[in-house]
Amino acid sequence: MTQEPFIQPRFVGPRFEGHTLPLSAAKDLAAYEELVLELARHLVRQKHGRVKKGFAQVFSLHIERIDDGSAKPALVAMMLGALLPDLPPEIVEAKDLINSVIATEAGQTFPAAFPKDCYSYFNRIGRSLEEGESIEWLPDSLTNKTVLTPVKRKRLVLAHRETYEAEVNVAGLVESLDTKRRTGTLSSLENETVTFAFDDPFFSDLKEALGNRRLDVSLKGIGVFDVNDRLTAITAIEQLELLPHLKLVGGIEALLELEDGWLEGGGKAPDPERLTGLMNEMIRAFPADLEYPAVVPTEDGNVVFEWIRSETRIELEVNFEGKQLELYATNLKTNQFVEETYPQDGWADAFDKVSTLLLA
């Protein structure tokens, strides 16, 4: 087996500053290897009409080491046995052609020699990149570092297709499951319907969440997006998380973003530990048949659950300092006002009262 240096891209971004490479980035490099081979085969066919048998089997790319300078994996070309003692010129031409395609900026013409079918490889090359990250394929170049960003990756895929793939993390209600086809539909929190495909390990959780408006799921995997960045399908689920009472818990979680001074320069941010405790309490104690309230902060760092009807307002204030729950309810139809307090663990009684008031 012989080997020679091939290319040493640089992964740029905070995730790569430890000079390590996440495994997801290794997938990008595996897809790059496939493209090099496919393109080399295409170039051989163009020159010689046919590709010599075993061409693909004797060539592969290996990560030799990861150097400093963000993370710089050094890729070497490995040639197996004596069939191809030297790197075929088409492999090098393929590398150069890929670099030319990546270097093409918006408004410029793509290299004519790059086959249309090969643009779909950019669905996988660079898919692990998050916003603000990039891969410099020629980091030492003084003229063009040949930078692949998530935006450029999308443009390359869409050059000859109407959809592109990207990593996705979407939450919502499991609306349907087809156990034979291993597919389903998800109604996202933005009320978009998204189809998904799933593997057996996820079936049990998906079945538990099916049609359950109190048990959303979060799906992390590979999404298919149209030219308007609308998620149309999830082709593979990599992680699934069950999210009980997501709307309510998500509302509380959003308050973690608040900082002191959030309200016109005043406004105390709720204590993060108390918010976490409240989220856990709601997962445990929120009744299955009670509609979700709005979740809003108060100026003094408390949290209010508010049920809003056209002539009724019901507020349940979680008074952290006072260690109590305070209920205030106005019904203009009946001209009633209710004010009650409960101990801080009196959730069941407080929610019972809210349920009764909502029926009035």
Binding site: E264, V296, E306, S310, T330, F337
Partner: protein, 138 residues
């Protein structure tokens, strides 16, 4: 209380983004907070438009609001113990922040937290029924 006001006179209230739920303002937006010293800030609709009120609040004062809602003088007074007083703002060091339309809904005669909540909820119901009068594009 201005002699030219009637029961139908409207007073604009700006709503902070965290106090909007599914497009509806929370009752929090209609109760005075400790920093308000019992005076809920509103703008006299006879002196400024709903959009002008929002623009002054966000662009001149640099504060956050998702839009302009309103309550009428009649709705304020029917809660009893609340009054509206004109309190034009004059900012000597930055006249651009002057606000001749500024008024306060005075909660100072309401002593308990519960009764303040009751009146704020009343105003929130009325303002919500009237709808958002100017919504920010963002």
């Amino acid at each position: 209380m201005n002699a030219e006001w009637s029961c139908e006179s409207l007073f604009y209230r700006q709503v902070h983004p965290t106090w909007l739920a599914d497009g509806v303002p929370s009752s929090q937006a209609f109760g005075p907070t400790p920093k308000d010293t019992d005076k809920l800030s509103v703008d006299d609709a006879s002196l400024v438009s709903a959009e002008g009120s929002w623009r002054h609040f966000t662009e001149k004062l640099g504060l956050q609001s998702v839009g302009t809602w309103a309550v009428s003088l009649g709705e304020v007074e029917e809660t009893s113990d609340l009054t509206v007083t004109a309190s034009p703002k004059v900012v000597a060091e930055d006249p651009a922040k002057d606000n001749p339309a500024h008024c306060g809904v005075d909660f100072s005669k309401v002593s308990s937290k519960g009764q303040k909540k009751r009146k704020a909820q009343h105003l929130a119901i009325k303002a919500t029924a009237r709808g958002c009068l100017y919504q920010s594009a963002g």
